[in-house]
């Protein structure tokens, strides 16, 4: 694995920053190198927020912002597509929380040079957590599509950062999304 750069899109309060950190934590726990950081300064509930994760098998020195991500993860399908498609590398992945099919997403984004993965994370979150906080479900979808950390490690990190029942509910969300995510061929 060489370097993988991920950009997360959500709205304030959906847990995009937490998701970025969980993935970095898991990669670090597996002995890899990782950085995770929020879009500095935007801490308002409901506002579009971005967070970033950079993972590598070798040490990471750069602190330049990620502008051409390999992977874009969209927590909120209501965000404008121009926002999340910006700079996404050709051949990269768009992993999006949506009720649409892969084909429908391709039709709406108008880009055929990227791969698309869809998961109905909102439904999964409502069924597992009872609230539409989709960040952990999207983490599950991500590690299925892009092998940057094992799902078992993600589960360990979640157990260490959430308490008892909440941890188990989030782990269910991760597993469900891991199973249900659909990727373009």
């Amino acid at each position: 694995m060489s370097r993988i750069e991920i950009r997360w899109h959500g709205r304030g309060g959906q847990g995009a920053v937490t998701a970025a950190v969980i993935v970095a934590e898991a990669a670090i726990a597996e002995g890899k190198y990782a950085q995770a950081y929020p879009e500095f300064g935007a801490e308002r509930r409901g506002a579009p927020v971005r967070a970033y994760t950079r993972v590598d098998t070798n040490p990471i020195y750069t602190r330049a912002p990620i502008r051409n991500p390999d992977v874009v993860v969209v927590l909120d399908p209501s965000l404008p597509k121009e926002l999340y498609l910006e700079g996404l590398k050709s051949g990269g992945y768009l992993i999006i929380n949506t009720k649409k099919s892969v084909k429908e997403v391709y039709e709406s984004i108008g880009r055929s040079d990227i791969r698309v993965a869809v998961v109905d994370a909102t439904r999964i979150a409502l069924e597992t957590l009872g609230v539409p906080i989709v960040n952990t479900a999207m983490v599950g979808a991500l590690v299925r599509v892009v092998p940057i950390a094992r799902i078992e490690t993600i589960e360990e990190v979640i157990r260490a950062s959430f308490s008892g029942r909440l941890a188990e509910a989030n782990i269910s969300a991760v597993r469900r999304a891991y199973e249900e995510v659909k990727v373009s061929t």
């Binding site: 970095a24 934590e25 670090i28 190198y33 950081y37 990471i60 020195y61 750069t62 602190r63 330049a64």
Partner: protein, 398 residues
């Protein structure tokens, strides 16, 4: 001697500070919240609440009071800590001189941030550079690991009887303070505490043995007392290196007072400090692949200034490009480190050209491409023999 056991944790630089302060078993913490420093003290409050750290947390009403409280605590012999940024550091300014003048070994961390007005919560080094002449030892770290290690080293340096000066450990606000990355922290902090043993090395107030700290000094006395600080800074230079070397022998990580990257055969050297060096480093790798003979120098120690090492490193080079993230308004060479480098090089018989470049003001993005373009510009100036004797303000809309 017990062996250290490391845990590899994902920490941002603010949390790395908190872990180091805990592992040094600090007695008194006084701080006032300010972005992007706040989570340092939040984490320390958590450690105190959990019983992992037995320290007194003094909640104050301003940064001026935060450092005042730390000064009071240090004056009675406590190991003290405070942290701040930007306007907070400015508000402390008066007390910076009192802390160093009283020769109190306080340690403070700075998550560097641009100064108002206009209001900016984002990173640059204008706050830190304003403290240049306050007689504080100043280390600038470039990774969360180095932040952890430097805070530990800072207590050893500050409390050394040859030094007795306060120490600042600075790092990029947000760019480092809020970025998670792997950090090795001690699982058995006793080992760290062995490295920073409690020693009563400085003069303290004690009701059983009264002394006076901070009396008035008339013109017959003041000069000699300030000269003591000049000598203490000179001593500190040796002590900083000693402590870093001992830290390296003991724990396997050391940093030196400057860091060199691929400069041996380089014609062009990029000199900078803080988190930006990481970006410069990767830009150098990319440029090397394209056959450009460029290397990097990182200033880890700002005060005392590592003049000898810098001179040695730039000797024989054609061009040094200094990337500063602060502006000395009204100066022809407005990058504080560029200015320092040029005055340090003045007596060199054959000296490289220096290009002063200001970047990243108020956290304006700096990418590897920017570094490559700046280097190309420097090379062009060099070739045309017209390296400007004034600062380039990179990326400003004009």
């Amino acid at each position: 001697m017990q062996e250290v056991k490391w845990r590899r944790l994902p920490l941002n630089s603010n949390y790395a500070v908190a872990y180091a302060v805990k592992d040094c078993d600090v007695d008194v913490i006084a701080a006032y919240p300010i972005t992007p420093q706040t989570t340092v003290v939040e984490k320390l409050s958590e450690f105190i609440a959990n019983g992992e750290l037995d320290a007194e947390m003094i909640h104050v009403e301003s940064e001026h009071s935060a450092l005042s409280a730390a000064i009071g605590a240090a004056a009675v012999g406590a190991r003290t800590f405070t942290a701040t940024a930007a306007q907070g550091l400015e508000l402390m300014h008066e007390m910076l001189h009192i802390a160093s003048g009283l020769r109190l070994p306080i340690v403070m961390t700075i998550a560097t941030r641009a100064l108002s007005a206009p209001i900016s919560i984002w990173c640059d080094y204008s706050d830190l550079m304003n403290t240049r002449d306050a007689s504080w030892i100043t280390l600038i770290a470039s990774s969360a690991q180095e932040v952890y290690d430097s805070v530990i080293q800072a207590y050893r340096i500050a409390e050394d009887p040859r030094v007795l000066l306060p120490v600042m450990v600075a790092y990029d606000g947000f760019i480092m303070s809020h970025t998670y990355e792997p950090v090795y922290v001690a699982e058995n902090p006793e080992v760290i505490r062995e490295f920073v043993p409690r020693r009563k090395t400085w003069l303290t107030l004690d009701p059983d043995k009264p002394i006076t700290l901070g009396p008035i000094a008339n013109p017959d006395w003041y000069y000699e007392i300030k000269y003591q600080q000049v000598v203490a800074m000179e001593e500190a230079y040796k002590v900083i290196k000693e402590v870093d070397e001992e830290f390296g022998r003991r724990f396997g990580r050391s940093y030196g007072v400057i860091e060199k990257y691929r400069i041996e055969d380089a014609d062009i050297v990029l000199l900078t400090y803080g988190g930006l060096f990481g970006t410069v480093r990767e830009a150098i790798d990319a440029m090397r692949k394209r056959g450009i003979n460029v290397g990097g120098l990182r200033l880890r120690l700002w005060r005392p200034f590592p003049a000898e090492e810098i001179i040695e490193s730039v000797k024989g080079k054609k061009l040094v490009i200094v990337l500063d993230r602060a502006i000395s308004y009204g100066a022809r060479i407005a990058g504080p480190v560029a200015l320092e480098l040029m005055s340090t090089m003045y007596r060199m018989s054959e000296k490289p050209e220096v290009l002063s470049v200001v970047v990243g003001i108020g956290q304006r993005t700096v990418t590897e491409e920017d570094i490559a373009e700046i280097t190309a510009l420097g090379m062009k100036y060099l070739e045309e023999k017209r390296v400007p004797n004034q600062t380039i303000y990179w990326g400003v809309r004009a």
